[in-house]
Amino acid sequence: MAAMSAAPGFFDEAVDEDGRTRDHYRPVQEWFDRLTLEQVKGLEEQRNESFRRQGITFTVYGGDEGTERTWPMDLFPRVIDAEEWAMLERGLIQRVTALNRFLDDIYAGEQAIVHDGIVPRRLITSCTGFEREAMNVAVPMGARCLVAGIDLVRDGDGAYRVLEDNLRNPSGISYVIENRAAMTKLLPAAFSDLAVRSVDHYGRSLLRALRSIAPPACGDDPTVAVLTPGIFNSAYFEHAFLARSMGVELVEGRDLVVDDHVVAMRTTRGLERVDVIYRRIDDAFLDPVVFNPQSTLGVPGLMAAARAGTVSIANSVGNGVGDDKAVYAYVPDMIRYYLGEETIIPNADTYLLWEEDQRAEVLERIDQLVVKPVAESGGYGIVIGPKATDAELAEARQKILDDPRNWIAQEVVNLSRLPAWAGDHFAPRHIDLRPFVLSGEQVEVIPGGLTRVALREGSLIVNSSQGGGSKDTWVLGDSGQLDQAAQS
């Protein structure tokens, strides 16, 4: 069905420079080559129906109101071979370990990295995500990024780079698991041919990580709950999914109460103590006593309970200081400082706009660069120089001059490409990858992650909120052996 040709400037995941299918894609490519147009359309139909029936949707905001769409999963999977994955896994563990150390140093330590002059003090104090209210709130084992989503891309040479870190409430893992479940039903034959590493142990791994950060005093059987803003939140589907896959209660703020600095759920049998909260509510809404006093989503007194050490909150409050995009530029320094190692997966080339010389260069070349606000996620506020109008560039320049600390600039990364279904044929589309990393007693990477794909031809925007889709991501096991993790 599909023919791919190598294009200059972009790295093609599935084919090499000579247009030959790469080894690890060969079974997949052959499998898709055998499908007729009708068969592909049939699979598409089957997938849509299945997602619709299960209510696997996401909400798109913009315009007048949010609209619910079924989850756009492209049939052609992304494949990562064992060796490549081993490198990524090492790189991700290294990065998240350093970020955990950094956050713990800032909030519960001596801020040694500041005193030793590795990062300037103002880098920390100027972060919008730096929560002074979380100062000196301890987190067992310093597992502050309990769930991290690290966005990776491949540049024109095929080298992986970290584009951004998501350490607050990274979402998307439910789609990784639903994508796999759908693909297993749609293409069962493909899975019997290849040793694809399993992802469906995520719920167990997450629960294990959450229980590992329980307050030491709560005993062997800590109670975990998922805290959601409620059914109107765009990621509610994922919150419910996670609670279900861990077998724990999905609670809203109003279900919890703090009594003598202990958090409890309101149940039909009275109050029941909660030891660990996996919260999917932003810091600002978590506790109206110390944050936004108007918030009714949170739990009054929660921060005091965390400070008293009777409850653990994941991800930790104030992680925004770790995924601020200006702080991102210092992650390689953190890795060197805390771990004494060189960075395995490098950053994209980044300019800090509060540095006068870097700002001058960026303002000159703004039409060739990508400009991003430091504290946003989900692709909001990004200006892509080569695709922007003169008016947009002028506006971006002004914004940078008004508040240079709020912006960074990066060289355009020519995201790698992979075939995706374009209505009647497969055509190359740009992709990225968000692997999920869990921190508990140890740091663990879920094989693969969420591959996002820009479904519009030539587009580099992969966010599902902006017309992006997703792909199942297959990490191949070593020498065709079934992965042990799948059985554990």
């Binding site: 409620g230 419910a240 309101r266 149940t267 039909t268 108007q294 009054p300």
Partner: protein, 339 residues
Amino acid sequence: MLARHAEDMFWAGRYLERAEDTARMVRATLLSTVAEPPAQAIDRMQNLISTLRLEVQAPAEDVETMAESLTPSPPMLRSEAGLGIDVQAAATRLVVAPTMAGSVAFCIGRTRENFRSLRDQIPSELWEQINEFHLRLRQDDFPAAMEQDPFQTLDFIRVSCQSLTGVISSSMAQGEGYRFLVLGQMLERALMTCRLISVRYPEHDGSSYDEMALTLRSVSALEAYQRASQSSPLGSDVARFLMVNDSFPRSVLYCLRLSETQVEALASNGRPPPLQRLGQLRSELEYTDFDTMVADLPRHLSDLEAGVRNVADLVSGHFFRNAEAFDLHSQAITPGVSS
């Protein structure tokens, strides 16, 4: 289980039951008006509205809770009868008006809202069905269908409600959530039956077969009654059947017994207040001589109704107390100013 979820289950049960009961009563009433002169038909419809304690044209903004819709309202259909709204139109409003508290569409909407927050606790089949049912009631052509073929439409509603109840009993784990749902259904059903008898009983004076048949049909009890009593119905016999028959699932006694079973299972220890009150109500009904009761039926019925309401309040106070409305205020002291 979370108090909030339990409360949602309880109310889902109440709303679902109310939707079904309303549809049954509307159907029976419409059926008996078919061959009647308009004035009599309007009386009959007015009678139904009193049973449901509704105001047919309740303004949308006033619609808040079911409790509000239960307050008795002035007989407004009559005052506007012949001028504004005819029997068929009133029946249609009772079924389709989405914002009128107590209409079938309203109750199903509320059932769905309650289930929506419980999606993780209920079988997906149940969610899919309530969703589909809700959407059908809200479709543009639904009022027209109700106008043109009310009986078929009302049958559709009854069957849909029954099939929801079927899914609940066949595919839902019979844990706490299930019990709260059944408890809500049973208490609501007991209330509806009490109300039906109190409104319909005066109409039984002439012991007209048609009148009593209408009462029985309103709760789909005609066939069961005939099998049970063999004789042609007497007013007091019908009331007795609907109140204390121990095997007919819409009799007040039956509903109280089933409610008691649920609360017994839900109570973690001892006999909490709702269980005590239920036991008291049930034994009064069981052991009071019915002929004595009939002598002052209106008072007994209103006591009974108040008792059932009290049980619902006690259930809420005992099990959902913790889920009271979250009503947050902030307070702060500023320097230099005393308040």
